[in-house]
Amino acid sequence: MNNNLKESITAWEPAAVWSECGDGWFTVPADRFRDLAVRLRAEGFDFLRSLTGMDWGGEGFGVVYHLESTATGENVVLRTMTPDRENPVLPSVCDLWKTAELNEREAFDYFGIRFLNHPDMRRLFLRDDWVGYPLRKDYDPSQNPLRMSNEVSKDSTASFELMPDGSIIRQRNVLFDEGEYVINIGPQHPATHGVLRFRVSLEGEIIRKLDAHCGYIHRGIEKMCEELTYPQTLALTDRLDYLGAAQNRHALCMCIEKGLGVEVPERVQYIRTIMDELQRIDSHLLFFSCLCMDMGALTAFFYGFRDREKVLDILEQTTGGRLIQTYNTIGGVQADIHPDFVRKTKEFIAYMRPKLREYHEVFTGNVIAQERLKGTGVLTREDAISFGATGGTGRASGWACDVRKRHPYAAYGKVDFEEVLFTEGDCFARYMVRMREIEQSLNIIEQLIDNIPEGEYQLKMKPVIRIPEGSYYAAVEGSRGEFGVFIESRGDKYPYRMKFRSTGLPLVACLETIARGTKIADLIAIGGTLDYVVPDIDR
């Protein structure tokens, strides 16, 4: 972080204390935090990259904020905490950054931190009758046996307000009125791409309000990581967003390597970059297939899968896995590339380019597809940034949010590729961004595939890995946006806290904004083009 910014933050808020440990951060007292947040927002820090709830044991509970200014690209990390373990309360920032809305609910769900003035303090992932807060260090899992009773969906929610005399009152907010016509979609519904659930209030065919329910595939990975050694944690990231398996694991490896101060060899960086791009093509092909299937074009589904199998063949030959490759390791990759890898990849590039033209003939130009995609579900650039909706969704709204360009990593600094941008922000733009990105990915691979440098594919690492004390954040461009990993280490074999910045959660957050006022049938197109993967939302 540059010194100018450091000085200005100290000037804006003298109570903010700088700590140089890992990435470096400012600690701000809870009662002063809100003012600094407002100031930073006004100074152009409009993108809240990640919001992480924390349990610091005796020091109480807190939150870590990663902020970025989209104009200048500057980053700042803030922390705030409350020592009260009985009744932790912190100010909400969901009016400044809309993405905080769901993230704060997540922190409430995990740690029981209540955010003042947050309009909707419900649990995000767990059942309402869940006892306790699972990510607290003193959580006792025996309190929650498997409950087989069905859940009731409540039509109201709570918010907490601070009174002038310092007391906190609970307010009841209505989600859905008595008279509203509310229908339920999911969790088992083919168009939600997994087990997401919506409650939608309709007026005729028009969506008036949408309430997303997550957590049907909440696997508690972040908590599990706290009991695993660093090499063991790698196994779980592939299963988060399984269409970004290589990238997710890349992010985690990068974060651990950053903490250790390890520089991986060039060869590894090239291999990782190529693998990431193959994975992206795989994911975008699946996106194409599923979107087409949702819209009733079954032929296109088969086309997409036919070509996706070709990518999987290449991945499988080198990594041994089709969907879940578990290929990256700390300081390298699991195995050297297969002797046929280069040839096969080149063949694939030559094969894929004409196929894309075929896709456009089959689907893109189709009148029905155009009618249903063009102009529906518009997300503005401001909203995209505020929600933190990165990836294809953000770029379709004109936000240049590609991590490969913003913070180049691996071999991305060495290649020449275009960041595909659209300005319409509608379903069609989101669709086209991904189709064009396949071409760009092919270009990237083409530039690298013949130049993979010789060398080691795996550095010698110690059997027991300990990251020096501090906190670290590393991000990659996943298949559907910025996938970040935040690690707080206390110098042990195990991470003290590991958090994954989900690529999908912001997409679900912005769904309400996009869908309000559209027809119920458009929800399918909107959900399809947002391209979320539910296990990545729920983690």
Binding site: F125, L126, R127, D129, P134, Y139, P141, N144, L146, R147, M148, S149, N150, E151, V152, A158, P187, Q188, H189, P190, G194, V195, G215, Y216, I217, H218, R219, G220, I221, K223, M224, E227, P231, A235, L236, R239, Y242, L243, L286, S289, F301, F302, Y303, F305, R306, R308, E309, L312, R322, L323, I324, T329, I330, Q334, Q458, M461, V534, P535
Partner: protein, 219 residues
């Protein structure tokens, strides 16, 4: 990080070739005196049933994508009569539990299963559905769907290869073909018990859709 001499416990390769043991057992039973006319009729019905099993489109996570791959161009389960994937449980014959089942999902899955019409079958696909898989120790994952549903076929893997899924699906077909001899394959309860259950459902006081009555519901 090389693994030295990994010892992988798995099914012996010879065993994969032994797919006829159920059939041979049944043949033996038949030879020892089953009713010829009804027996033949049963055989025809079960032959038909086993070749048109309709899956419920149910996928919670990664394994579901491989299940989609089984349905798509290269693996194409239409060859075996599975292609009519239904989105409604009322029209489906079997449920392929592909993916992790969490505490929040468990009652939903049970309800889906209850909504399916008899005869119905369950396949547990992947480590997660079998035992919780990589997430066995998590606070929110059900360690095995067989805790909540009766499972007919287990397909191990993380995720199982499409070939393995096809193998598992065909094992289900084999099982269905001879189900008469093993009672109701899935429920594994006899007729009497089944009737008893049905009667109880009708007469039991309406249990409000199995919703837990919770006095301090509003926190």
């Amino acid at each position: 990080m090389e693994v030295r001499n990994p010892r992988i416990k798995s099914m012996k390769y010879e065993d994969f070739n032994d797919n006829e043991y159920i059939e041979s057992m049944v043949r033996e039973l038949r030879e020892n005196g089953t009713n010829v006319v009804v027996g033949c009729l049963d055989e025809v019905i079960e032959w038909g049933r086993s070749n048109s099993l309709w899956p419920l489109t149910f996928a919670t996570s990664c394994c579901g994508i491989e299940f989609m791959a089984v349905g798509a161009a290269r693996y194409d389960f239409a060859r075996f009569g599975f292609e009519v994937a239904r989105a409604s449980p009322r029209q489906a014959d079997f449920i392929m539990v592909a993916g992790t089942i969490t505490h929040k999902m468990a009652p939903v899955l049970k309800r889906l299963y209850d909504q399916m019409a008899d005869p119905k079958y369950v396949i547990a696909t992947g480590g997660c559905a079998i035992s919780g898989g990589p997430f066995k120790k998590s606070y929110h994952v059900v360690d095995g769907v067989d805790k909540i549903l009766p499972v007919d076929v287990y397909i191990p893997g993380c995720p199982p290869r499409p070939e393995a899924m096809l193998y598992g699906l065909m094992q289900l077909q084999r099982k269905v073909k001879v189900q008469r001899f093993f009672g109701d394959v899935n429920r594994q309860i006899d007729r009497k018990e089944c009737e008893e259950l049905l009667r109880r459902d009708l007469t039991a006081e309406k249990n409000e859709l199995n919703v837990e009555k919770d006095a301090n519901h509003e926190q």
